[in-house]
């Protein structure tokens, strides 16, 4: 993909020559993603294209850090589930008695912390769950408790607002590119964007199927950030195509596109690197809250670079000439 003979001294990538191969790669990735989304949807235990997390379904998540001297004694998930099954929580005004026998228990960091997923609980009921767990899994670190409770209505609301902000962002970006370039460019940038988001979603749907990974509202934030980044990348390439179009008018469209991609290739790769470096710091040191968020962003950066180097410019060569506002 690169040729670095001393006199050229520049990365180059003849997009038009590899056009069909680029489309094959992208089409395959999109198909695999769609298969993932559909099989997740058909999966009776998920029934959504992506496995929805607490933020979207509503419920309570309790995370407790155990107080252990050296190593934490292993515990059995079944023992904790059994303990919870035998208990009923007292009623509260305006809420019915939650069924805690459906609790899902998980251990993290070598039994150091316990994560329990429960139906929607009131704060008092959540405290009672902690009390129930103390004799079996305690003592717990006093400052190491995290309780998240999200009502079912708020979940749908979050999902709705995530969708709306994605659509608004799309429209805004398309309008801006349409204004700065032309409609074809706006359309192609949106195609590249959809391609990027679809593949990231596809990867996460497969992760949901095989690793039970759930998406939360941070994932929606990641998608929006990816769309900003991906379009940014594409716009830089388009900008160069426009420049070459006006300065070297005699060239064929294929040559113009190849020239523009090669001229911006180093920049695109370097920028991906400088974005991936802090992201990898987040992946390694950011803790479990930010881990999958950073993974999603990193995937978005890689795929976004691909779509702006290869996919969007190669689609442009379908046109016979370039007419852009100057």
């Amino acid at each position: 993909m690169t040729s670095s003979s001393p006199d050229r001294a520049k990365l180059s990538f003849p997009v038009s020559r590899y056009r069909s191969r680029i489309w094959l790669v992208s089409a395959l990735a999109v198909i695999i993603s769609c298969v993932g989304l559909i099989s997740s949807w058909l999966n009776p235990s998920i029934r959504y294209p992506l496995r929805p997390g607490l933020d979207f379904t509503g419920g309570t998540q309790i995370k407790l850090e155990r107080q252990c001297l050296d190593k934490c004694t292993p515990l059995k998930i079944s023992a904790i589930s059994k303990e919870l099954q035998e208990k009923t929580l007292p009623e509260e005004i305006s809420t019915s008695i939650p069924n805690i026998s459906t609790a899902r228990v998980q251990f993290l960091d070598g039994y150091k912390s316990i994560v329990i997923r429960l139906p929607f609980l009131s704060p008092t009921q959540a405290e009672q769950i902690v009390d129930i767990l103390i004799p079996i899994a305690g003592p717990f670190e006093p400052g190491g408790k995290a309780i998240d409770t999200i009502g079912p209505t708020l979940g749908t609301q979050l999902l709705k607002s995530s969708f709306i902000s994605l659509i608004v962002a799309f429209t805004g970006i398309a309008l801006y590119i349409g204004y700065r370039f032309d409609r074809t460019f706006a359309f192609l940038a949106l195609i590249a964007l959809m391609h990027d988001l679809l593949i990231v979603c596809g990867i996460f749907s497969w992760l949901g199927i095989f690793l039970n990974l759930e998406v939360n509202s941070l994932f929606a934030v990641a998608l929006l950030t990816i769309s900003g980044y991906s379009v940014n990348d594409t716009v830089v390439v388009f900008d160069r195509i426009r420049e070459i179009n006006s300065s070297q008018d005699t060239l064929k469209i294929n040559q113009k596109v190849d020239l523009a991609v090669s001229a911006t290739l180093a920049r695109t790769l370097y920028t991906s690197c400088t974005t991936l470096l802090p992201l990898s710091a987040l992946i390694f040191f950011g803790g479990d809250t930010l881990f999958w968020f950073s993974i999603a962003l990193a995937l978005g950066v890689v795929i976004g670079s691909w779509s702006s180097i290869a996919l969007a410019p190669s689609l442009l060569t379908l046109r016979s000439n370039i007419k852009i506002k100057e």
Binding site: D7, S162, V168, L224, L282
Partner: protein, 494 residues
């Protein structure tokens, strides 16, 4: 050159000002970084009020504000989100259940006189109620670990007894559900024995509490306004010395029934004050006091989200994000210096300015820093050098074409400008969409990322340029090899 120095001085002054802000101004840390509880409350429409207006949100907020202040949690904040939600933040509070008990209730207080000739009925119902309290306590004994099975038989038997005496036909699966049914039916029966209310919490001026004499239990004291005092005197006079009781009803549930002594049958209890004693603990008396003093909520409120994070988890999150930010900054710096040499070094200085400006703005605006917000900042470090990369690549192109260094730098800046603007604006558009439509931490993330985009435009265009020009006044630095590592021979693109 004079203009150059002016710019240089301006940037230097900004950096110094920003660093002093960083050290002097406190940062607003989100609860996920400092520990505490956050409750999201949703105002519920009622039959009468189906559409929630901003005035009603304000009214609910002011009542809740008073209740929160009554709780005595320091630094708590209550803010409106959207059209019908409120977010209450209680920093350092590890147990949100106290707040939730106080906030969620409408606290409608009523005083009702018992209907004549219902003496026996109320006695029977009262004894059934005390039986129910005993039963429900043994069903969900707090230590929970033992005795449930043993008690189960007994609980079931007693519940059956209660069912029969109240002639309840509904049967629920679990004891707890059945207790709920019985409680509801029992309360309904008690309420039926009382006249409709004339005196309510609206007639209250203030509420207090005190420990009952020689007892460990507490009582709640009430002070009525003029009209309320008169009504109370009237009400107590009408039942003084009779068999009738005075029902004290909170949110449609009778919490106690008091008798009024014969000595009040002339004028009633005057003076406009009263006490409620109903086996309150210090905490429950305080909660009722806070609810009554804050007034009743114009609309019911439901808690839709609660987040609690322990302080050590918060501190851990701060450490983690600091390490990630420093590592990210360091890696980007190494990358830029390896690939761009002198301009790379300049970009790193501009990047440090970028970080300082950002952080000082967080303190100034102020932005509440949350974990995703910090992630947004760390991510923006990588994206901030993009403008510099664009410029330096252009400079390289110009050098390869055989242009002089100074000329190449100038051309590089001007040619990269339109790409930089377009790229920044598209990112900004998605930030704005996120900021206006998102809630909570989504807002925090988009705010930090958006601020980063704007500042990076400034640092990449002006700071880098000024610094680069300044460095170019040194002859030793003015070598093409410092800009085009490995490829000194100028070559054209064609």
């Amino acid at each position: 050159m004079a203009r150059q120095q002016g710019w240089f001085a301006l940037i230097l002054a900004l950096v110094i000002a920003a660093s002093s802000v960083c050290f002097s101004q406190p940062f607003q840390l989100g609860l996920d970084l400092r520990g505490g509880s956050q409750l999201t409350l949703e105002i519920q429409p009622t039959k009468d009020i189906t559409e929630i207006q901003p005035e009603q949100v304000e009214a609910v907020k002011s009542v809740l504000d008073r209740r929160v202040n009554g709780l005595g949690v320091s630094e708590s904040t209550l803010q409106t989100i959207g059209t019908n939600q409120l977010i209450l933040e209680l920093p350092g509070e590890q147990d949100p259940s106290k707040a939730s008990r106080v906030l969620g209730k409408t606290a409608l207080l009523e005083f009702r006189a018992q209907k004549k000739g219902t003496k026996d009925e109320i006695k029977e119902l009262q004894s059934l109620r005390s039986l129910l309290i005993r039963v429900s306590n043994s069903d969900s004994s707090p230590d929970g670990s033992k005795g449930i099975e043993k008690n189960d038989e007994l609980v079931k038997k007693q519940l059956e007894l209660l069912n029969n005496s109240l002639s309840i036909k509904d049967r629920a699966g679990s004891n707890a559900e059945q207790i709920k049914i019985i409680k509801r039916a029992l309360n309904q029966k008690i309420l039926e024995l009382f006249e409709p209310a004339e005196l309510t919490g609206k007639d209250l001026i203030s509420a207090g509490r005190r420990q009952e004499q020689n007892l460990s239990t507490w009582e709640v004291t009430l002070t009525f306004n003029q009209e309320g005092g008169n009504k109370f005197a009237e009400l107590t006079k009408s039942i003084a010395g009779t068999d009738q009781l005075l029902g004290i009803i909170l949110d449609g549930e009778s919490i106690s029934e008091a008798s009024v002594g014969e000595q009040f049958n002339v004028a009633g209890i005057t003076g406009g004050s009263a006490t409620i004693s109903g086996n309150f603990t210090a905490d429950s008396a305080r909660e009722l006091e806070v609810q009554l003093r804050g007034g009743s909520l114009p609309l019911p409120v439901e808690i839709v989200q609660v987040r609690t994070i322990g302080p050590t988890l918060g501190a851990e999150n701060i450490n983690r994000s600091l390490i990630a930010a420093m590592t990210g900054l360091f890696l980007v710096a190494v990358f830029m210096i390896i690939f761009y040499r002198v301009p790379g070094f300049v970009a790193v200085i501009a990047l440090s300015f970028y970080a300082i400006f950002n952080i000082s703005l967080y303190a100034l605006i102020p932005v509440t820093l949350t974990l995703p917000g910090v992630a947004g900042f760390i991510l923006s470090i990588g994206m901030a050098v993009d403008a510099n990369v664009l410029i330096f690549e252009r400079v390289k192109d110009e050098l390869r074409r055989g242009n002089t260094l100074i000329r190449s730098i100038e051309t590089g800046f001007s040619q990269a400008f339109s790409s930089i603007i377009d790229g920044h604006i598209t990112t900004l558009i998605s930030c704005i969409a996120l900021f206006y439509l998102g809630t909570g931490f989504v807002k925090g993330f988009s705010a930090t990322l958006g601020i980063g985009v704007v500042i990076s435009l400034f640092t990449a265009l002006s700071c880098t340029r000024v610094l680069l020009r300044f460095l170019m006044s040194y002859k030793t630095l003015r070598r093409t090899s410092n800009f085009l590592p490995g490829h000194q021979i100028p070559s054209s693109l064609q």
